[in-house]
């Protein structure tokens, strides 16, 4: 293992830019050179070298809080004039005519986009093997998956290509790849960051997030993208906390609930032990560890696999071969145009979820499945509410195991679904959560997930920052040979 350099982080780059030891264009060139050197990871679908270099060249010295910092967007954030594929054949040639709010705000903050990151098609997947553009490889071991669905974003940060990347998290899609790639993944409270221009998968669960090496970097990026947006009616109007300002508040006296169910069946004992080791670091820093139960947690997977496919089948109805996206050749009639355009444009996992969603929403089944799942969702959210009357944060492993081999789980989609239980529940409850590097098992990274109460972003980031000040797992980098 080698170690990351100061210039691999947002904070390190900003300090160097402020000191005048580098200029923005040098950082953009560095990222593009590294992107080329790591092309075998297949982490970028589109590289925006010319636009990135041009942006970096014309940035004023005081161009915003992230001025001159290169990054990549998960390829579901619409970027005006640059194609947004969602990892799908359906949108392989789609060039959005507008910017997502997240893109607009990062542009305004002076960050420099160098490309669009590979992802599971329409954000459906936990291994990044569902992309039309091919799987992404894990920088720690190229025969293994990076996690998903923001697998390209996680791999790019882990490989040192960019100091941060955007992601989206519907059931763990920021946190799980962050854990498997040894970086930090932050999912804010539902409604903290605008979803405008972020291609929809399951609208009541989707939330934009950030991947970076440190909680401090996540705080800086979150500060730039969080806050009300009149173009997203589900975006909260609550004032945005000073995430960077409170980073140093530490964990003394903080009550952290260690959730028994997070360490349940299916969690690799070595991963569990590693995560408990990281929690002991927080305890040494003054946190109080408390045993907590979330009895409804195991219901998260069945509830999620009713609600998310239902919302997906509705959201993805817009891809019809008429207004934008893939259209089949020589349709014989309108039904043929719809049916073949969609069958050709969508991959297997997307079809699986559309069919499941169509089933649970179809006449006669709505109450038995969809309505019931929404009630179970309330049960799960109530578990979290109750837990947060006793503790300040909740903790457990982000994922049950380390990165698995490419192809190892593709034959059994249900096994892949089941592995997301710890992350999915958080989306059902709409809460903020972070995955922080917590150590290694057999040379592969392990993530600690911390979950906060709604709009508890500042507390979460401060706790993760305290862990990173007292540990160096996040400073380890994949070896050059990987």
């Amino acid at each position: 293992m080698s170690r990351i350099e100061a210039l691999d982080t947002v904070s390190g780059q900003l300090a160097a830019l402020a000191a005048g030891s580098v200029v923005a264009i040098t950082l953009a060139e560095r990222s593009l050179e590294r992107a080329a050197a790591h092309a075998a990871l297949n982490a970028l679908i589109t590289t925006t070298a010319d636009a990135g270099l041009a942006t970096a060249a014309r940035l004023p010295a005081s161009g915003g809080p992230l001025a001159g910092v290169p990054f990549a967007h998960k390829d579901l954030f619409c970027t005006r004039g640059v194609r947004t594929t969602c990892g799908s054949r359906m949108l392989a040639d789609f060039i959005a005519p507008y910017d997502a709010t997240v893109a607009e705000r990062l542009n305004a903050a002076g960050a420099v986009c160098i490309g669009k990151a590979n992802m599971d098609e329409f954000a459906m997947g936990s291994s990044n093997e569902n992309s039309f553009f091919g799987p992404v490889r894990n920088p720690w071991d190229r025969q293994r998956v990076p996690g998903g669905s923001s697998g390209g974003s996680a791999a790019l940060v882990a490989a040192g290509v960019v100091p941060f990347a955007t992601g989206s998290d519907t059931g763990g899609s920021v946190r799980q790849p962050a854990a498997l790639c040894g970086v930090v993944g932050f999912k804010p409270t539902y409604g903290r960051v605008s979803r405008y221009g972020m291609v929809a998968y399951a609208s009541s669960l989707d939330q934009a997030g950030v991947l970076a090496h440190t909680a401090e970097d996540c705080a800086r990026v979150l500060a730039a993208i969080a806050g009300a947006d009149p173009r997203d009616a589900t975006c909260s109007t609550r004032p945005v906390d000073d995430y960077v300002g409170v980073l140093g508040s530490g964990v003394r006296g903080l009550r952290i609930g260690v959730v028994a169910e997070y360490f349940g069946a299916g969690v690799d004992p070595a991963v569990a032990q590693t995560v408990r080791g990281a929690l002991q670091v927080l305890e040494r820093e003054g946190a109080v560890l408390v045993d907590v139960r979330l009895p409804s947690l195991p219901l998260s997977i069945p509830a999620y696999y009713v609600l998310a496919p239902a919302e997906a089948s509705s959201n993805l109805a817009r891809y019809d071969g008429v207004r934008f996206g893939h259209r089949c050749d020589a349709p014989t009639d309108l039904a043929d145009l719809y049916g073949r355009s969609r069958a050709e444009g969508f991959g297997t996992e997307v079809k699986r979820r559309i069919l499941a969603g169509t089933y649970v929403l179809s006449a006669g089944y709505y109450d038995a499945y969809y309505r019931r799942a929404q009630r179970v969702r309330r049960l799960i959210a109530n578990d979290y509410l109750r837990a947060f009357t006793e503790v300040d944060l909740l903790a457990g492993p982000t994922a049950p195991g380390v990165a698995f081999a490419l192809g190892e789980k593709t034959a059994d989609p249900l096994a892949m679904y089941a592995a997301d239980v710890n992350t999915v529940a958080v989306n059902l409850a709409g809460l903020p959560a972070i995955s922080v590097p917590a150590g290694f098992v057999a040379g592969l990274p392990v993530g600690l997930q911390l979950v906060g109460p709604a709009f508890g972003e500042a507390r979460l980031l401060a706790a993760a920052h305290a862990l990173q000040l007292a540990s160096d797992w996040h400073l380890q980098a994949p070896g050059a040979a990987a």
Binding site: A343, S362, A381, G430, L431
Partner: protein, 95 residues
């Protein structure tokens, strides 16, 4: 529960997915297993629980009911695989 082939054909039609027989078989098997998994929810007592549709419904507001966008129709038509004279083109619908 095992989905019969007629149900699968009906679902695929509702979802506007033209699936070949082998793909339908594969997806049908996966759907069967998914439905068996989500059937766990039938055992749960949900009496008295309000359905939760959206997790953070407070502190949001709707924008005013006023036009904020210019006419982008030409730009949007330009995204279409087939458009002409200000219209999206589809195969003939009415004989």
């Amino acid at each position: 529960m095992a989905l019969d082939s007629a149900t699968l054909v009906h679902l695929a039609r509702l979802a506007r997915l033209s699936l070949g027989e082998s793909e339908r078989g594969l997806l049908g098997t996966d759907l069967d297993r998914t439905l068996a998994m989500i059937d766990q929810l039938q055992q749960i007592d949900v009496n008295g629980l309000e359905p939760l549709a959206q997790p953070q419904a407070s502190d949001t507001e709707n924008r005013g009911d006023s036009v904020t966008e210019d006419d982008h129709s030409a730009q949007f038509l330009g995204l279409s695989p087939a458009a002409e004279g200000g219209y999206f083109l589809v195969p003939k619908v009415i004989e």
